[in-house]
Amino acid sequence: MAPRIATSAADAVAEITDGSTVLIGGFGNAGQPMELIDALMECGATDLTVVNNNAGQADAGLALLIKERRVKKIICSFPRQSDSWHFDTAYRAGEIELELVPQGNLAERIRAAGAGIGWFFTPTGYGTLLAEGKETRIIDGKGYVLETPIHADFALIKALKADTLGNLVYRKTARNFGPIMATAAKAAIVQVDEVVQAGSIDPENVITPGIFVDTVVELGGEK
């Protein structure tokens, strides 16, 4: 199905309900779907499980969702930053659950969900605190930890362009988690600078095929 072209960021996230698991793209500001996160803030959905590389920074975006206690659990690789004060406060108060995952395992678990892989053995984290309680195996003398896929209800992603069939291209290191998150969510919601006609993206250069994209919202170019 060609994606729905939403009229606004608010329209794009309107179906996100309480208790949803939401993958949020971005690494630093690159690829961060800030307008969609703001719209998620506005739409009122709560009890969210959020998957992101970080746990919010300063007083914007994901940090505000955490500040307002809308996130019951966060799955991320790097929560503690100089400006992660809203997470820090919520965490110390025991008001947010943290699942800490090495960044590459986080990416691979998201990829596995999208790719229909059940569990997989990864060497990353073997012998560490983050493997405690997990099944391990020694293969050819090397230790591996069994990890599970991370499935989600929604993904919020920022891409550079979408065509009307939902094919996406990204820009530089803003690509980061977008392509894998699009595959792991029941519904991928994508903000783009520009929507172009089907056929205007070279099929060789499509990064996320439209099959993975459910909703697109065009939010114009440079912020």
């Binding site: 199905m1 056929g199 099929p203 095929p209 439209g210």
Partner: protein, 218 residues
């Protein structure tokens, strides 16, 4: 679900393909298996906006290529030259099968040697002594898509039903088939029952007498 219907004549292969095509929901992402299912693409309408996937790495596959459009780098899973439609995309084999295995295709349509009443599929290997086995993407296709439909003749040349209680041929995938199109009937498999949606050139009772599984009129 559609109510039971019947027609006087058996379906031709083209009519079967036409019926399958008409049943595919608008906007679906579909993989058509090699052989008879490929014929379905001839009956998909532009208005349906169905996107075809080929497991050798493409979404947005167009019709078979002819004349100058033939390009040996642009083929389908049956290794037939095809064309690409606007909005197509190419990807590598791992991504292509991830797309399938991850449940992103709405449907695949496959041929079959046998289907069991529980939707188990046999279509890759006769199990015959001395046969060289080959599986290709059959097992991935069977269990990957959200829905797997089968197109087959209902009876073998020896007159035996290919819709069976339990497979006697080697399994391709367990519990994966939800619909079967044959020249004499269309079956829907759900809730551990086999519903007959339509019969063609045969009555429901005649059919029920020839098929060794319990049938229910849809």
């Amino acid at each position: 679900m559609s109510a039971f219907s019947t027609t006087e004549a058996k379906l031709t292969r083209d009519e079967m393909a036409q019926l399958v095509a008409a049943d595919i929901p608008a906007g679906a992402f579909v993989n058509l298996g090699i052989g008879q299912p490929t014929n379905v693409s001839n009956y998909l309408t532009k208005e349906q906006g169905v996107t075809l996937h080929t497991e050798n790495g493409m979404l947005g596959m167009g019709p078979v290529a002819t004349g100058e459009d033939i390009d040996e780098d642009l083929i389908n899973a049956g290794k037939i030259p095809v064309t690409e439609l606007p909005g197509a995309s190419f990807f590598h084999h791992a991504d292509s099968f991830a797309m399938m295995r991850g449940g992103h295709l709405d449907m695949c349509v496959l041929g079959a040697f046998q289907v069991s009443k529980d939707g188990d599929l046999a279509n890759w290997h006769t199990g015959a002594e001395g046969a060289i086995p080959a599986v290709g993407g059959a097992m991935d296709l069977a269990i990957g898509a959200k829905a797997t439909w089968v197109m087959m003749s209902l009876f073998t040349k020896a007159g035996e039903s290919k819709l069976v209680e339990a497979l006697s041929y080697p399994v391709t995938g367990l519990g994966c088939v939800s619909r079967i199109y044959t020249e004499v009937a269309v079956f829907e498999l759900r809730d551990s029952k086999v519903f007959v949606r339509s019969t063609h050139g045969i009555s429901f009772d005649q059919l029920a007498a020839k098929v060794p599984v319990e049938l229910t009129k849809a």
